[in-house]
Amino acid sequence: MADPIQIELVAADRVVWSGQAREVIARTVEGDLGVLAGHAPLLSLLVPGVVEIYPFEGGDTVFAAVEEGFLSVADNHVSILSEDAFLASEIDAAAVKADLEAAQKDEDGAAVLRAEAKLRLVDKAS
């Protein structure tokens, strides 16, 4: 197996997840992006969406919802920064659905995207 990549998923006020992983997939402004070990240094912008982290030791995939942010890759070290980020296990599906309806009513595009991303995440994780 290739070398592990060191992942840090960081929100503005806490570290959401950090550890070693085999692969990480995130949605950037250019489309979905997968990072494996030995990836070239990269700085890219994230759109609100889901980040998937496949832990190095195997085990369950980690799903997280992120807001706008960015991703930087260098030396097998991936930092995912977003002002708000949640793990799937921290999301309350019912509350998000309510948010989504409210956002659709207000035609707040960004909020709709965010809520949809969170719902997709809950579906995936369950």
Binding site: E8, V10, A11, A12, D13, R14, V15, T28, V29, E30, A40, P41, L42, L43, S44, L45, E68, G69, F70, S72, A74, D75, S79, L81, E83, D84
Partner: protein, 310 residues
Amino acid sequence: MAASVRELRAKIRSTQATKKITRAMELIAASRIIKAQQRAAAAAPYARELTRAVSAVATFSNVDHPLTTEKENATKAAVLVIASDRGLAGAYSTSVMKEAERLVEKLRGEGKDVDLYLSGRKAEAYYNFRGREFVQSWTGFSDKPEYSHAREIGNTLVRTFNIDETDEEAIDPALAADELHVVFTRFKSMLVQEPDVIRLLPLEVVEGTEAPAADDVLPLYEFEPSAHEVLDALLPKYVHSRIYYCLLQASASELAARQKAMKSATDNAQDLIEKYTRTANQARQAGITQEISEIVGGANALADASAGSE
């Protein structure tokens, strides 16, 4: 004499009540400082990674950005003053306001107009009371700032730099600023908090304390979609993160100042109680002595009178 003893007892009781309150506030402040410090520590990784990314873009691309370009003859400066919402924190707010006044004087001396942005009810009250103008104020979170507060403040301030006609929420062009300074209180230790000024914009990305070490060479990044767009997205976030840092420092300082002020208030209350108790005891003793001498005097007088009549 008895009346004054009663008065003193009442004073002692009220001082004891005050002491209980100040003691409780002291303990609350003490426990919340620890929380504030934990929040500052939790925010550190984000700030570190963000600084690294911003310096990477700044180092490897020659993109000019309104937020990093120094204007040659700046005529307008925005000043963000971070004070507290509540008093009972000693000289905390006063010293921030003094520092702010000094900065405003200095900027005016350099021929710049100053727009004030305030955080904290005490700052608002200070300028309202003196009838001075400020552009905007935010209140209600000075002892427990959230990232969303920093974002809100940051967005408003960044917008004064990018006056863009297409922006729906564009602000009055008269508010366009060439510089942004932040006045806040730096938390040095539990005993020392110093008011401080930093110039946030135009950005000086490499900051003495957070500069990457010399051997930590930044890799040659690829930027997606482009260096300019990455910078566009990163810089406002960087500003938010710096403001969040200032808010956290200010809240820790406020709590430390409050703890110190409340501790000395508690000590003073204790001193007062002891003084009043002594005075009350003296008064009571004097009353008793007087009663005894009156009784003895009365008895003697009676004895003399009855002896004389016999």
